[in-house]
Amino acid sequence: MNFQLTEERQMLQDGLRRYLSDTVTPEAIAAATDGATGLDAELWAGLTEMGVPGAMFTEEQGGFGGAGFDLMVVFEELGRAGAPVPLIESAVLAGGILAEVGHMDLVEEIIGGRIIGFAHGEPASRYDLAHVQTRAEKTDAGWHLTGAKAVVQHAPATDTVIVSARTGGDVTDQDGISLFLVPTAELHMRDYPLNGGGRAAEITLDTVVPDSAVLGETGAAYPLIAAANARATAAQCAEALGLMETIKHLTVDYLRQRKQFGQPIGKFQALQHRMADVLIEIEQARSAVINLCGHLDTDDCDMHVSATKNLIGRAARLVVEESIQMHGGIGMTQEYALGHFAKRLTMVDHRFGDADYHLERFIRLAAA
């Protein structure tokens, strides 16, 4: 039993924290969010240079990490900085699947900074990973993909996207889902900014891709998607933890500095006690992330995904609402840093399943 980071991870953490605190400014986030690609290209290049995408992969896969705690270290720091970067999409989701099906050339490029997207969710799928209506029909030329994909994060920054489509089975069957590598130029995209920063797109598909575009076995992609999704959820939970840490620091500073009725508002016992409860939940969140990252490669992974995502969802709401309330009006302004972090943290519950979704799943898994 040991809760210390290894020396390598400690170095990565320190380096990342320094680099991000120098680099990620509100202006840079806003520019990326409102810009064409939703990407802060300079930041992405810097992260790549530091080897951040490589930390998502094992040495065997050409990286130098790949364990749950590597994800934790990196994403907690990205969360602290509030930086929207396509690391979950390109390295954890797309990269994870590509490594699994043996596309090591692309993995190498991802480690080198190339951004490949992952288009799986659909307008009606909500949080159900097996819900795929997009169809792939076999033609002479290859596969004809038709359908729609929803809220594909960082799609405008990609040149290629992994698209899931149904080659068999009914809309919610786990069997019959296949994955295709599609050039972004072949997709119809409507892109838009996101609450909390970054851009996403609605994607409409009506394109033919060659047989070589198929990833892995046709009809058997569900386990690949589910495994990548579990890792992505861990990454996102670690990011949420980092967001909470920054919100905590902002709020503690505010309570210490802001004066009302002649004293710092942090002297008011009602706020002190509520702040204590917030701190407790942030420690709970940290432990939950540790639990998940420590069990990513075990049989209990699914249960920990749901336990942790549930706890993070609840803690996030408390942290967001209490921090805004303790700040008062200033906490609601876009100019002050809190707003961005609060929005980004709020959005965590809207991806990979919300707190209730995972509570229900946890119950189902525990009963099984």
């Binding site: 009302q260 008062g328 009006g329 609601m332 209730d356």
Partner: protein, 398 residues
């Protein structure tokens, strides 16, 4: 004990309903229900419709061309207009300044300003809060120095809602630094087009700029624009705050929000069934509905007591807290209901006549926006912390 309206009250309710059916433009109620941005012209249009009927001065006595309604009638009016999706009555001139002028203003001020509020000549905004003051209102520093027949005003106000539309502002200013902070405050009426005034929008986390900073640099204000006596403004300010508190429970908003929530959760599918049929989600919706049923009755109890002439005690603080907690919970559940589509934010969709299609369900973006925007409910109008203080002081008497 009787939970039902009297026949007269029912008749009044029917009259309000009939009026709304005939006179509330659907263009406006569609915007309100769809969470679109209301323009200055939208508010002015609705005010003019109400004024033509004699129903704009809801809290005003008949002698000033108000409705003369009692608390129950006001409640019925608020309930019906909210349910119908009418724009709110902009409160600054009507519910805040008006009552202060009636009680403390000079005859000249009453004669001049009150009709202009009703007929829309003036759009008032509020100059109370200052940066660094917050709930500690008496610590304000914006200063007015007498110079012959004028006051020279210097300082800053903030959180000035819809100040960008206003041609007038009523301000609390410091005219003396002697004595307790509450002493030395005066109540001034100021033209927004006076030289030296600058209005800067504050963008909130929902992306909207409904509040502003207002800066005063050597702004000259004629002394006849002083309300009541110099250095006695704290009394008027407190009087105003009690009037600000009408409809503090927001029952109508909560009901409208709850019914929208149920509709949205009835359309969103999860695991092959409407989200509203999911027991985890249904439990939360039912819980807030049950709380709202009780709170609505607490509200009626307070209204009936007010109509019977009893002074409200800590009840309005209780209603403020419970009312905002309920509305914020409804906002949170609505945000939860829209799922992944809570994330996209395309500001121009909120403009009337925008060609931009919504991303995902039409209800999604307004749901997230309302969640963030309504965090303000527990902060402004006396934060919920201040209300808890009032409640506990009243009962503990410590």
């Amino acid at each position: 004990m009787d939970l039902n309206y009297t026949d007269d009250q029912k008749a009044f309710r029917d009259e309000v309903r009939a009026f709304l059916a005939d006179h509330l433009p659907q263009r406006l109620s569609d915007k309100v229900k769809g969470g679109k941005r209301l323009t200055k012209a939208d508010y002015e249009e609705w005010h003019a419709i109400l004024n033509a009927k004699g129903w704009l001065g809801v809290t005003w006595p008949k002698e000033h061309d108000g409705t003369g309604w009692d608390a129950v009638e006001r409640h019925i009016f608020e309930e019906e207009t909210t349910a119908a999706g009418a724009p709110r009555i902009v409160p600054f001139g009507l519910n805040m300044l008006g009552p202060v002028l009636m009680k403390f203003g000079s005859d000249a001020q009453k004669d001049h300003y009150l009709p202009r509020i009703l007929n829309g000549d003036d759009w008032w905004c509020q100059g109370y809060s200052e940066p660094g003051a917050g709930s500690d209102l008496a610590s304000l520093r914006c200063e007015a120095v007498r110079d012959g027949e004028h006051y020279i005003v210097n300082g800053q106000k903030t959180w000035t809602t819809l100040g960008q539309y206003a041609n007038k502002i009523f301000c609390l200013v410091r005219t003396s630094k002697e004595g307790k902070p509450q002493q030395g405050i005066s109540f001034l009426l100021i033209d927004m087009d006076s030289p030296g005034i600058e209005v800067r929008p504050i963008v909130l986390i929902d992306g909207e700029a409904e509040v502003n900073e207002v800066w005063f640099k050597d702004v000259r204000v004629p002394v006849e624009n002083l309300v009541g006596e110099e250095n006695a403004g704290w009394t008027y300010a407190k009087y105003l705050l009690t009037h600000e508190r009408t409809n503090i429970a927001g029952v109508g908003f909560a009901r409208a929000g709850l019914s929208a929530l149920k509709r949205i959760a009835g359309e969103q599918m999860q695991g092959g069934q409407p989200l509203i049929a999911n027991p985890f989600f249904a439990a939360k919706v039912a819980q807030v509905e049950i709380d709202l049923m009780a709170m609505a009755t607490t509200n009626l109890r307070t209204i009936a007591a007010a109509a019977a002439g009893q002074a409200p005690g800590a009840e309005s603080s209780m209603l403020k807290i419970k009312g905002t907690v309920i509305r914020q919970e409804i906002n949170a559940l609505t945000r939860q209901a829209v799922g992944p589509y809570a994330a996209p934010f395309v500001s121009e969709i909120l403009d009337e006549g925008s060609n931009a299609e919504p991303v995902g369900p039409e209800a999604a973006m307004p749901a997230t926006q309302a969640y963030f925007n309504n965090r303000k409910l527990s902060i402004y109008g006396g934060s919920n912390e201040v209300q808890r203080q009032i409640i506990s002081k009243a009962i503990l008497e410590l």
